[in-house]
Symmetry: C2
Subunit: 204 residues, 2 copies
Amino acid sequence: MAKSKNKNTEAQILNAAKQIFQTKGMDGARMQEIADKAGINKALLHYYYRNKQLLFEAVFKNAFSLLAPQLSAVLNDDSSIENKIKNFTSNYVSFIIKHPYLPNFIIQELNRNPEFILKLKENKDFPNLEKFKIQLTKDVSDGIIKPISAEQLFINILALNIFPFVAKPLIMAFTNTDNKSYNRLMENRKTEVSNFIINSIKHT
Amino acid sequence: MAKSKNKNTEAQILNAAKQIFQTKGMDGARMQEIADKAGINKALLHYYYRNKQLLFEAVFKNAFSLLAPQLSAVLNDDSSIENKIKNFTSNYVSFIIKHPYLPNFIIQELNRNPEFILKLKENKDFPNLEKFKIQLTKDVSDGIIKPISAEQLFINILALNIFPFVAKPLIMAFTNTDNKSYNRLMENRKTEVSNFIINSIKHT
DNA sequence: GTATAGTTTAACTGTTTGGTTAATCGCTTT
DNA sequence: AAAGCGATTAACCAAACAGTTAAACTATAC
């Protein structure tokens, strides 16, 4: 079984590392805990991934490669701005439910080490605003959409969708909600948020 | 000089701890590094604050006590909803410039330890939505503002204002901006964001 | 069946880290 | 001037930690 276990253990390690790193961060994670969660010896971690930093980077890149396509969808598909916003908003909530710790993990670790994103930017799949910018400029000059820069609109879309999950404990406290009703709030946002954005930018 | 230095060192420690904890987080911070930054011996940290956890809590509570009044302003002053949004949005950007690491620090540490907010909720100054809710309900039934729940609107206000600072490295990469032009973007948001919100919710 | 090569482990190492201790310093009081 | 006391330090300690090593295990090739 040894050789067939090969790929299996490697994936098991990555999966365990994902759980630990995404909840505790690079500094809070312990190699021993990852090994325990993967059900293997600690030395085996170093056999597959040479050290903590490399294991972390594998997890981080993997996480980012899940998030990036979600964003690229808003920026590069061929539908109208209005539809892009609608689709992204409803899809993103579903996406997050599958990967609840992901956005916070990425944001937290990028703040700890901002140079890290330079490596990611070299990738050709890295989200790019150009197409979105052209489309928006056209819609604005056509009078479909009120004047707004692509950067500001993009920031607003990200903010309204991502922030409620990143700041979940804080917002739960302010709004006095438990987990169940918070999830209901988030479920409502699938349509609330896109209406909110479109209301704001669409010419009447 | 010893007794006069008393209050001075305690504040120096808290200040150094603030800088280290807010940039590196609880797990990434080192007691030695805090001592060095405060210009004192490591044992003196334990003399004033018994251990790392208590020193951290002092820093955290201090940070939260700066943020809370900013939020309470939106919720409890007597101006119109429109003015609240305008004021908060422009004030918040100025506030952040003075305390750039603060929102991220609070969000990050609350995610690491969500039970921590329970202690804070006991405080009577803890931001409360009740007044805001009543005001909004009235404005909605008076036809001044389009139907929206207080929770959703409050989340939107926080998201649009706070997220760009929390996710700064990520957004800088997506929008291809350096520090200078990012700050310009943020400066523009002082008016952009409040217009964006008011456009969306105000009845025409 | 045994040599080979990749996989896995137990045990170990060196260093970092939070925290302690006992001594010293310097001001104030008497 | 010396006793008293809070503030400060150097030196130390035990635990936790990332990483290493050398041996054992297991499937396959010959």
